[in-house]
């Protein structure tokens, strides 16, 4: 499982990409992923919003994650 980080999320985790190897306990849903992230990096709690994209589409908390998904952490967008 491959998780991408952008903007301030990249600064918080100190990396633009984290690979979960097969051996590790992987979060099963978007909600679980967010929970793990916040546990490991409490800074995420300070953000205005925290969204997750699965295969480059916004994903609700109940979306399940599989090993082949491209997952991205989407902090508050600020284009334009």
């Amino acid at each position: 499982m491959n998780v991408l980080f952008f903007g301030i999320a990249k600064d918080i985790v100190g990396s633009s990409e984290i690979l979960f190897s097969d051996e590790e306990a992987k979060p099963a849903t978007v909600a679980a992923l967010k929970k793990d992230l916040i546990k490991n990096y409490p800074e995420f709690l300070k953000l205005k919003t925290l969204a997750v994209a699965v295969n480059s589409e916004y994903a609700n908390d109940d979306v399940t994650l599989s090993g082949n998904d491209e997952i991205a952490i989407i902090p508050p967008v600020s284009g334009g």
Binding site: I8, K48, P76, V77, S78, G79, G80
Partner: protein
């Protein structure tokens, strides 16, 4: 081609009108976002944009399709820049082309408002002594 959706290094503002020109259009409305020198009285040196490109292009396509459908547009352009942009440089250009002017004005406003809400692009404001990710915190 009805829509142009792009993420580029440098925006060429001069060509957008040609892209939006259409024999069935009487009105073309374009919005260009540029880097302002001051934000809350602080001098900005540059803005740095980054994007999740695949997803951003998908979201921009959705915005273009929604606008074409809703306002019966003949042409749409959504183009965003990435990388570092200095004061007065263009960072985004959106435009709509329609038979009458009501539609292109409303659609153009929708394009930029929705782009700012949903497209995964992030900007960092670079000041003399610090850098800040815009809108990250409440």
């Amino acid at each position: 081609m009805k829509k142009v959706v792009e993420i580029v290094d440098v925006i060429d503002t001069a060509k957008v009108y040609t892209e939006l020109n259409h024999v069935e259009s009487g009105g073309i409305c374009v919005f260009v976002g540029t880097v302002r020198e001051f934000t809350n009285q602080e001098q900005v040196i540059a803005l740095e944009f980054e994007t999740y490109r695949d997803m951003a292009l998908k979201e921009m396509e959705k915005i273009a399709d929604t606008a074409i459908e809703k306002w019966n547009l003949n042409k749409v352009v959504l183009r965003h820049a990435v990388g570092e942009k200095g004061v007065a440089e263009p960072v985004v250009i959106v435009g709509a082309s329609s038979a009458h002017r009501d539609a292109c004005f409303e659609a153009c406003r929708f394009l930029i408002d929705t782009l700012k809400e949903t497209v995964p692009i992030w900007k960092k404001e670079k000041f003399k002594n610090k850098s800040v990710w815009v809108s990250a915190h409440p």
